[in-house]
């Protein structure tokens, strides 16, 4: 993250506010304060605000909120992924395979206006195809694909555009299958990142994924990101994929 390299004192106030998404959080906190003051007679504004930010830092602030709020900051998004994991781990354990639409319905139980496009794109990562909407997926596969798609949504969309333009240059008839030159792709991605401020996975990992073969198709690229343990731990909310369905015995219950 670009802001990590800078000391917070060397940032301008605006940059600081923007990088930590403080203004949206404050707005949200204030609106909730207005709506809730009728229900609880003992509500104290400052205590409420301190509780609010405590919950934000613990990642417990994303349930039953608008999609606009959830997608505000990378931290919010990561917290949502964690929530998704915790809530539906039992379904994963139960072993049911579900369709993209059903996963979407389950997600909408947590966030009522969550859009289908993100779920669909996550499904495409796993299915390597243009979303046959009735294909069944296992919970673990879906979860990790969803994590990368949701957390790096803008970045991945930009990568896709890049990929399509690269394959159009080459005159590929089936860009999905043939792929593009990995080196060219990597150069393009680096250029993307330097020109924009996307939240993105570590460049080193991307480099590693793309250098595995000369040609890279978009979906192998995405799958590589989804399955990478390093990226997963950099997001920091989900355990290793092999362990994600285990019950948490040792970890702290309420976090």
């Amino acid at each position: 993250m670009s802001s990590e390299s800078k000391d917070r004192f060397s940032q301008t106030p605006e940059a600081y506010l923007a990088s930590h998404h403080i203004v949206p959080h404050l707005c949200h906190a204030l609106s909730s304060l207005y709506t809730l003051k009728d229900s609880d007679p003992k509500l104290q504004p400052f205590r409420y605000l301190s509780d609010y930010f405590a919950r934000v830092s613990a990642g417990q602030h994303v349930l039953h909120q608008d999609y606009a709020y959830i997608s505000t900051s990378p931290h919010n998004r990561a917290s949502f992924v964690k929530l998704l994991w915790r809530t539906y781990k039992s379904i994963g354990n139960h072993g049911d395979l579900l369709t993209a639409k059903e996963y979407h319905a389950l997600i909408q139980l947590l966030c009522a206006d969550f859009p289908f496009t993100i779920v669909q794109s996550s499904a495409r990562i796993i299915l390597m195809d243009d979303a046959i909407s009735d294909c069944l997926m296992a919970f673990q596969d879906f979860l990790y694909a969803f994590q990368v798609q949701f957390c790096f949504n803008e970045f991945l969309n930009a990568c896709r555009e890049l990929y399509l333009s690269l394959s159009a240059e080459k005159g590929n008839s089936t860009p999905r299958l043939e792929g593009v030159e990995s080196s060219k792709f990597l150069d393009g991605i680096t250029a993307l990142l330097s020109n924009n401020t996307y939240h993105h996975p570590s460049i080193r990992v991307i480099h590693r994924i793309l250098s595995k073969s000369q040609k890279a198709s978009f979906y192998t690229y995405l799958l590589g990101i989804a399955n990478s343990d390093t990226i997963n731990s950099s997001v920091g909310v989900l355990p290793k994929k092999s362990q994600c369905l285990e019950t948490e015995n040792k970890s702290v219950k309420s976090d």
């Binding site: 106030p13 404050l26 204030l30 609106s31 003051k37 609880d40 509780d51 369709t99 639409k101 319905a105």
Partner: protein, 655 residues
Amino acid sequence: RKVYGVGSLAFNSKAFPNFTDSRPSSRSTFSNTPTQSLVNTTGIAANAQAAAGGGSAADEKSGCLPGDRVVFAESPSAPGVPIVYRLPEEKAANPDRLNLDRRRLTICPILEGEENLRLLNFQHNSIGRIQHLSSLRRLIFLDLYDNRIEEISGLSTLSSLRVLMLGKNKISKIENLNNLLKLDVLDLHGNQIKELENLNHLSELRVLNLAGNQLTKACNFLGLTSLTELNLRRNKIQYVGELDHLPKLLRLFLSYNDVRSFDSIRCLGGSQSLQELALDGNPFTSEQSYKQIVIDQLTSLRQLDLKKVTDDERRMASIVVRKEEEKKKECTKAEALKERRRVAIQNAEKRWQLDNADQTTVAGYDNGGLSHYTEVENDTLRLYGASALDGLDKNGLVANVSSINHIYFKFIPYDSIVPHFPKLRVRFPALQGLTFAFSSISSLKQLNSLTTIRRLDFLTISPEGNPLTNFSLWKYYLLYRLSHFNVRKINDADVTMTDTIVAEQLFSSLGAATLQHFDVSRLLSILPDTRRKQVLTQCDTLEQKKQVKQSEERRKLLIAAEAKNRPTGTESMNVAALTYATQCRPKSARTASQHAVAQQLIDDIVTSAISRQNKLAALEKVWNSVLRDAVRTAVHDYRCLHTTVDNALSLLHDT
């Protein structure tokens, strides 16, 4: 052997002494009528049997034959046409009768010197055309039964003809009878006649036999003012008309036709003369009150289908007919209602298709017509079409509200039904179950809204028109969300203990998440007002006891208090957070304005904080030099103290 009906008529006795002879072989098939007292004043009669002599068909062709002894010869001028001579003795014995039956004739022979002939018999031959009869000006009886005649012709000179028998031929059209104005009996049975025509001039015709033809309707009877007997058996008649114009019609035989209802023979009701009627073998007779209708309408009838009609029967008949009419009226009313229902439901379905398929037109949708329908069947209230929901508010909708225990929704979008849920429980206190068909239920969150019904024993979401049923977990989610309902049946399948346990296993983390993620105030906000006050007071008393300061402890207390104070059948707090806000409800203006105010406030604070920060940063930059300058000036001034004092004083003087 059946005797022709008018057989008892007296003949000009001399000419036909033997006409009461009966012949064993079958000839024409006129019916046997019991009345034998018909007397024709003109005194002319005919017998189907040409009585003279009468032998069976001879085997020899030429020369003298037994029976009427005739001589066959060939004319040199017309080869192939036989000429018939009779020896003068024969002619003197029977001058006006000639019997040529079964002579294997294929052509009508030329009859030499028989101008006085009055009765001519050509039965059972193979004659194809009626010819060479123009000289027989006095002929009154002509029998061509059982030949191969295809066309009625060659009769134009026979103006005295009274009886014409053309049965069992191949005639397809009635024509060329124009000059036979004295015709009394016309027999055309067993032909291929399709239409009744060219008979209207036969004002003396009394008997008409058209049995065994191909007639499909029988009208065109005007002019047959003497007709007493009409035989139309074994045709394909579906309609009979104009018979009420025949003042003398006594007997009508319509057996084995295609008469389907009384309407087809309604004209008979106007006949004052009809005494005998046969309708057996028609589809009409299978109707329940066939006999009664006919007896009631035909007041002069004495015999129907060979059975006598009594006065008692007549009286009963009119009663029955009235009853039938009333029943029919009821039936048509019921039919009309049924049709209305069908159209309304179909319209509701088309409306639903329109909304769902995003098409601008759907075939057959009647925009102006009714597109909803409501009905009550036993204890189920059925609603079709979205506009039917308006009726739920009206009072007169259902007569007996307390008997309804099931409501069935079809072709109504689920989101439109949701606002009515709270009212349902109030209006129908005995409600036990709901069914949704074609309701476009597509998401699990929609099931959350069912909690406003407060209690339900069974629920059916039909797979038709509800994509939700494609999800494998929808039933479990339903059980979890509505666990406080204790639903007994989902989609007609009993809810087992295993189902409930699995549901709890799968989804309990949803409820747990609520308790974790929500703080006290938000938890309180999801409770309904009454419960909230209760729980709050409970919480307060506990707090005072324990002296809670941390909000975390307060939250735990709240959760405990809520769990303790929950009445049976109410949902728990963790589940209550799972709500469904229908898309059509826009965010209330109040929330929007609150949000705007908050945003404004924050922006103001941020701006002022940033400007203050900037000012501080700017100050930071220049502070060093400012301080340095100040110190330098002070030190400098202190070194040259006198100079400083002098300068200051002079400054004071000047101002």
